[in-house]
């Protein structure tokens, strides 16, 4: 029903915002534990955001309106994208409004504004961060599109909700292509979220930072927006992987309360598994040299390409 989907959309809009900091906090806490530190509480990101929001925003003299507008645009793009992906139910109002390709475009808008803001003030770090971000994006985006194409070749649609319905309908066996697409998607997600081995989210070392270099000039509520956007984006990618490759447990349109509760529980479980895997992976691996990004993301692109090639093999048989 229409009213149901509006209600679940509202729930998801709030959910995306509320779960994002605790997810980031959990990854940080687990990483700290694995590194032999005690680690801050999983609620620390909420406190950080609150603290930043209270502080005065200092803006450089040379900054234009782009610098001031960018945090809000970046945050809005990430938040909107997070609302479009089915998480606990496919019955969301905005679901039919955007498909995976629109999602890629929406994320590109956020990235574009962040890179603009990085260059706006005219510091060296902002420029280097923006140029690296664009290098990563130019490779990660085609890889993500290849994943999208192979998924839509399997299911015949680019709508996430319909892909979920297709997979849950038992139409898909163990497909090699889906495995390859999953691997490519995970690599893209790692790169896009600036996680190790591409970028270290907690570094402030001049030569290695990408995301941090772009947002170096931000403070106060602007920084809070950018940080929140990064957290929402992490949740968004985990939600996307869970939605496309492990949609089991998700509520379908017409499901009752029990279906919704089951959907929420399974979504929480999937996030927990993915966040744990991310923390363990990050704790066990070293950061990559900047010059090797192309190899890593080129690998993701080729995996996506192979996924599509294998689909044609299966078709031909």
């Amino acid at each position: 029903m229409m009213s149901d989907s509006v209600l679940w959309q509202m729930v998801q809009i709030v959910l995306a915002l509320v779960t994002a900091p605790v997810l980031t906090g959990y990854v940080r806490w687990l990483k700290a534990r694995l590194n032999g530190r005690r680690g801050a509480s999983v609620l620390q990101p909420y406190r950080d955001l609150y603290r930043l929001a209270q502080k005065e925003a200092v803006v450089a003299h040379s900054a234009s309106w782009i610098f001031r507008a960018a945090p809000y645009v970046v945050f809005a793009a990430a938040w909107l994208a997070a609302c479009l992906i089915p998480t606990f139910t496919t019955d969301i109002f905005l679901g039919p409004a955007a498909d995976l390709i629109a999602l890629v475009a929406l994320l590109a808008v956020g990235r574009f504004w962040l890179a603009l803001a990085g260059m706006d003030v005219g510091t060296a770090f902002g420029g280097i961060g923006a140029s690296r971000e664009m290098l990563i994006a130019s490779l990660a985006e085609p890889a993500m599109l290849m994943v999208t194409f192979s998924l839509s070749l399997v299911s015949g649609t680019t709508q996430p909700a319909q892909i979920v319905a297709f997979v849950l309908g038992g139409n898909v066996g163990i497909e090699v292509s889906l495995g390859l697409a999953l691997a490519a998607m995970v690599m893209v997600a790692i790169a896009e979220n600036g996680r190790i081995p591409i970028d270290n989210p907690s570094t402030h070392l001049e030569l290695t930072m990408v995301h941090e270099a772009m947002v170096l000039e931000y403070s106060g509520r602007h920084l809070a927006m950018i940080e929140a956007a990064a957290m929402v984006k992490l949740t968004l990618y985990m939600g996307l992987i869970a939605c496309l490759f492990a949609p089991w447990g998700m509520a379908q349109p017409g499901a009752g309360w029990d279906g919704i509760v089951l959907g929420m529980a399974s979504f929480a479980a999937k996030l927990w598994v993915l966040a744990t895997a991310l923390a363990v992976f990050e704790a066990g691996i070293a950061k990559m040299r900047v010059f090797r990004y192309a190899d890593f993301l080129g690998g993701a692109l080729l995996l996506g390409l192979l996924a599509t090639i294998f689909l044609y093999v299966s078709e031909a048989v």
Binding site: V176, G298, G299
Partner: protein, 221 residues
């Protein structure tokens, strides 16, 4: 349904072997190359065991065992030992950049699929796909032999190529066991010979970079 599952799983394991072939191309360090090769042999053993199960051909379990013991354990351990002895466990030089190698690799996979599918139009679906996968693995092994300069990685490329041959053999029905055993032993003998040659080459040229040999032969001035 069960038929479809066994088919999907065989396909999946074959693709894992192929992915390991790509991972071999991607690795730069000798230790990582050897570990990846060991993983590929492990996947090959799994493929052989699964084929033995679905074809009801017990002798393929022997092939799986051979792959597991010789190729996943003895050969990598021996090569690790060699690399350690020769003191070359630092880096791998590539003649071609990793990105280009991977692109050529994907082109080779597409080529082998285009080649195998029309030729085997009358064969069973399972055999066709496995043959396409196996041929890709063979071509990737060749590519690795071409693009690497270090003698040890060239040998690993050769072994990966042979993995592809075994993959093709186990997926075709009626491959006699004696052939596989003899192939496995000849590979082992080849590895021993390679080991001796490594020492000889290094004694002579102070390096395992085969560039020096090309100059010595007069291929390059």
């Amino acid at each position: 349904m069960l038929q479809a599952l066994s088919y999907d799983l065989a396909h999946l394991i074959g693709a894992t072997v192929l992915m390991a072939g790509f991972a071999l191309l991607y690795q730069r360090r000798l230790g990582a190359v050897l570990n990846t090769f060991s993983f590929q042999a492990l996947a090959l053993a799994a493929a052989a065991a699964w084929q033995a199960h679905i074809q009801h051909a017990p002798h393929l379990y022997v092939s799986a065992g051979i792959a597991l013991v010789f190729k996943a354990m003895i050969v990598p351990v021996a090569l690790h030992w060699l690399v350690e002895r020769l003191g070359i466990h630092r880096t791998v030089e590539t003649a071609l950049s990793i990105g280009w190698t991977m692109i050529i690799g994907v082109a080779l996979v597409a080529l082998s699929i285009l080649l195998v599918l029309p030729v085997t139009a009358k064969a069973a679906a399972l055999t066709r796909e496995s043959l396409a996968l196996a041929m890709s693995v063979v071509l990737l092994g060749m590519l690795m032999m071409i693009t690497r300069r270090n003698a040890v990685t060239q040998v690993v490329g050769f072994m990966a190529l042979e993995n592809g041959l075994i993959l093709a053999a186990v997926s075709a029905k009626g491959m006699p066991l004696v052939v596989e055993i003899s192939v496995a032993f000849s590979v082992l003998v080849a590895m021993t010979l390679f080991g001796i040659f490594f020492f000889r080459i290094r004694e002579r040229f102070d390096s395992l970079d085969l560039n020096y040999i090309e100059t010595f032969r007069g291929d390059r001035q």
